[in-house]
């Protein structure tokens, strides 16, 4: 009973934080891309568009839910649920921290630590494609059909490279549990270089990581691999016929996919919740100092603000940042907060990379994309796997 209750509490916390993150990830993306393109982005709803996600959600919910007459009704309605369901599940396997004791209960900072965690994540990721494929098929629209066909072919090609890229950290960690993979990467070389897989001696997994990231772009259908959507070619691709919350389902699935794949990348290659440098060098104070710095910048700009409302909002957020810095400065809370902080930082960098690339690169052509996957990524991943397995065999 205790376990049951605990799991529900953890699931509720993770679901709440995850869904909020998804909503604000969309705002972040719009803001970052807007600044790349020299425009302010969302600006009207709340200070600097801060309440925009809320407005978007309200808009999407209150929109008329159109089911076109020519669709295959069952699958048309099922597809977005499929997509969003399988996009949300993998987060429960991601470890945000080690075992902690809270209110006398010892638990992992993770919803569940399956011994086959990684296989589970890959399996669910592969099932997720059914949402897109079914959606495109059931829409009975030629553009959607083309989009979902592209998507299926793309997934098959890139899943291969992705899986082989993932296999190398597994060889090194010798386990499938995501928690244990993270723990295998704790510690430091020479007292400062973290033992993450990306820095693994004597053969750093840097190629594996790059292949993983490239394949991850393809997996999540993001530029430069956004073939299935390609609004300039296929209008909306598989979601052309969708509106209202069903469209929001696909939309959410896309962002959930990004968060998940970035989290997996963090766990496999970037050492999960392990800090960037050892606590002896003061890594425990990094978050407090970061937020302190953020607050200082905000106060500095508040002094020079030209618009009256900036004179209110900037110090307000400065105070919030100060408060967060104060929380991070309490040593008692470190076991709970620091792992989460490092995890979020690393995953955040990866997510930022996703957004940055979207603002920069054009789209591949379909055949080039397939050639790239099969003739370039796949052989490199394979060679890397062979070298790594050879080294692992020799060392052990």
């Amino acid at each position: 009973m205790d376990f049951f209750l605990l799991t529900i509490v953890k699931a509720a916390i993770i679901a709440f934080i995850f869904l909020t993150t998804l909503a604000y990830l969309q705002l972040l993306e719009r803001k970052v891309i807007a600044h790349i393109q020299r425009r302010p982005g969302p600006y009207r709803v709340g200070p600097h568009g801060f309440l925009q996600p809320l407005a978007d959600v309200i808009k999407l919910i209150t929109k008329e839910d159109v089911v076109p007459p020519h669709v295959n009704r069952t699958f048309y309605i099922l597809a977005p649920f499929f997509a969003v369901f399988f996009a949300l599940i993998p987060i429960c396997l991601i470890p945000f921290g080690p075992q902690v004791e809270i209110f006398g209960i010892t638990t992992l900072m993770q919803l569940t630590d399956l011994p086959v965690g990684l296989v589970m994540v890959l399996a669910i990721g592969s099932i997720g494609i059914y949402g897109i494929a079914l959606g495109g098929w059931a829409s009975n629209n030629k553009y959607s059909l083309l989009g979902s066909l592209r998507s299926s072919a793309q997934m098959v090609s890139y899943e291969l490279a992705l899986t082989i890229a993932i296999a190398t950290p597994l060889l090194l960690a010798n386990t499938l549990s995501l928690q244990e993979i993270t723990q295998a990467q704790s510690g430091f070389y020479f007292g400062f270089l973290p033992r993450w897989h990306i820095f693994q001696m004597p053969w750093p997994q840097i190629f594996s990581f790059i292949i993983f990231v490239i394949a991850a772009f393809a997996e999540t259908n993001r530029l430069p691999f956004d073939m299935p959507e390609a609004e300039n070619e296929l209008i909306g691709g598989f979601h052309t016929e969708y509106s209202s919350m069903k469209f929001a389902g696909f939309f959410m699935a896309e962002y959930a996919g990004i968060v998940t794949i970035c989290s997996i990348g963090t766990v496999l290659f970037l050492g999960g919740y392990n800090p960037l440098f050892p606590p002896e060098l003061g890594s425990n104070f990094v978050p407090a100092f970061l937020f302190l710095g953020g607050a200082a910048i905000l106060f500095f700009h508040a002094l020079q603000a030209e618009r009256w409302r900036d004179k209110i909002t900037f110090p307000l957020f400065g105070v919030v940042f100060l408060g967060i810095a104060a929380i991070f400065a309490v040593p008692m809370l470190w076991p709970y907060l620091l792992p989460v902080f490092w995890f979020v930082m690393k995953a955040g960098v990866l997510i930022f990379l996703f957004i940055w690339v979207r603002g920069t690169l054009p789209r591949f052509r379909y055949d080039q994309l397939m050639a790239f996957a099969w003739k370039f990524l796949f052989p490199i991943a394979l060679i890397n796997l062979i070298i790594t397995s050879g080294l692992v065999a020799v060392v052990s």
Partner: protein, 413 residues
């Protein structure tokens, strides 16, 4: 010349026949109706694509969704009024259309415009070329997926539109070039406005090149795509940058100079690759040449009158109209009736940003044209579409469409 798909060509057999046929003889192709509402057809072009997988087996462009009847409307307006319609033909290169029509009518009238008007026209038409090429570059890059490029190009275009607004009071439908000269004298501070723009713009063109040419994805998408035999291109009536990208050095500014273009020093960029990339490079180089022309025009801008000394055609000054009897009579005649143009016909060609733009004006001696026909470059260029995209992937179709740079208003008139 090899087979060009015609409108009558059957795309699929009757649906019933298809369904009753045994499965192995059923066609493998799918008909995709691309447009008229599609984000990448640049307006309301409809292309009926017959697809085998993602490969285009057969393409059939269908135009006419933006038919405005401008050619016919011109017959009901006086010569001067019709200038306002020419703006709306090619709404991205309005000044070029103004100029071509105005030159044609001036030829009929045998009217000489003062040098200041000529040079100002050249400068504005070249600015229009920049404007048009910027829109082309932005939308072309966006079609290929580089979204950011579009916003960068629009930023520069905004400056250009401000300059146009400064001159004419309008951002797009300027109607600034009039029969007999210009609508108004250049506004105060135009040198600074154009100068400021010209100071930053060359580096911006380099910036675009950096962003695109150093990107392997972009290069792979456009190199070797959309090639067609040069003879066929000529036969189909393709002109302008598309033909220059195929290695034919044709430019009305050099071949048949008008409005004093012979006094300017510039090159006609040509490339021989004849693909989307060559078209891209031609237009980028054209922007650089336009910059040269604009700078020469700015430096050597003559003073003096901006309208011809032709009281029967050009409205008198306000002050004269109020004080002099003759001026008042001319004013009354021009405003109520318009001016009469000697009977005759004339065909005037200029180089618009899209290619060879020709206006055929027929006069029967009255104050309204008997016929105004436009030989628009977009229409000619679009003829090559079906041949260019045959056998290509859908993604290539988009890249090729972008490289052709047509304006549907220009196609349909």
């Amino acid at each position: 010349m090899s087979e060009v798909p015609t409108l009558e060509a059957p795309v699929v057999a009757d649906l019933r026949q298809v369904l009753e046929a045994p499965p192995e003889t059923r066609p493998r192709t799918m008909v995709l109706n691309m447009g008229p509402q599609h984000p990448s057809t640049h307006g309301v072009l409809r292309i009926v694509l017959e697809l085998d997988g993602e490969h285009v087996v057969h393409a059939r462009p269908d135009i006419g969704f933006l038919h405005t009847g401008i050619e016919k409307q011109c017959e009901n307006l006086t010569y001067q009024q019709a200038v306002t319609l020419t703006d709306r033909v090619d709404y991205l290169a309005n000044m070029s259309n103004n100029l071509c029509y105005v030159l044609a009518v001036e030829k009929l009238l045998q009217l000489e415009v003062p040098p200041r008007a000529e040079w100002m026209r050249v400068m504005l038409v070249e600015l229009t070329r920049l404007n048009s090429h910027l829109v082309w570059l932005g939308t072309h890059a966006m079609d290929v997926g580089a979204m950011t490029m579009f916003f960068y190009c629009m930023r520069e275009r905004e400056d250009l539109l401000r300059i146009f607004e400064m001159f004419s009071g309008q951002r797009m439908m300027t109607s600034y070039i009039r029969i007999g000269g210009l609508a108004l004298d250049a506004p105060r501070g135009w040198e600074q406005a154009v100068g400021r723009f010209m100071q930053t713009f060359p580096s911006r063109v380099d910036e675009y090149e950096d962003l695109l040419k150093k990107n392997p994805i972009w290069m792979n998408r456009i190199i070797g795509v959309g090639e067609l035999d040069v003879a066929e291109l000529v036969d189909l009536g393709v002109t302008g940058p598309m033909l220059r990208a195929a290695g034919i050095k044709t430019d009305a500014r050099k071949d048949a100079p008008y409005s004093g273009y012979e006094k300017f020093d510039f090159e006609v960029p040509t490339f021989t690759e004849n693909d989307v990339y060559a078209r891209y490079r031609v237009r980028i180089e054209e922007m650089r040449e336009s910059i040269k022309i604009i700078n020469q025009a700015r430096a050597g801008m003559p003073g003096g009158a901006f309208q011809a000394d032709a009281p029967k055609v050009v409205l008198p000054e306000r002050e004269k109209m109020k004080t002099q009897m003759e001026a008042l009579i001319y004013h009354f005649k021009i405003v109520t009736e318009g001016f009469r143009v000697p009977a005759g016909e004339v065909y005037q060609v200029i180089e618009s940003p899209r290619g060879e733009l020709g206006y055929y004006v027929v006069s029967d001696g009255t104050s309204k044209p008997l016929r105004v026909h436009m030989r628009t470059p977009s229409f000619g260029n679009l003829q090559a579409l079906a041949r260019l995209i045959q056998g290509k992937l859908i993604a290539d179709v988009i890249a090729i469409l972008g490289s052709m740079d047509f304006v549907l208003g220009d196609v349909d008139r």
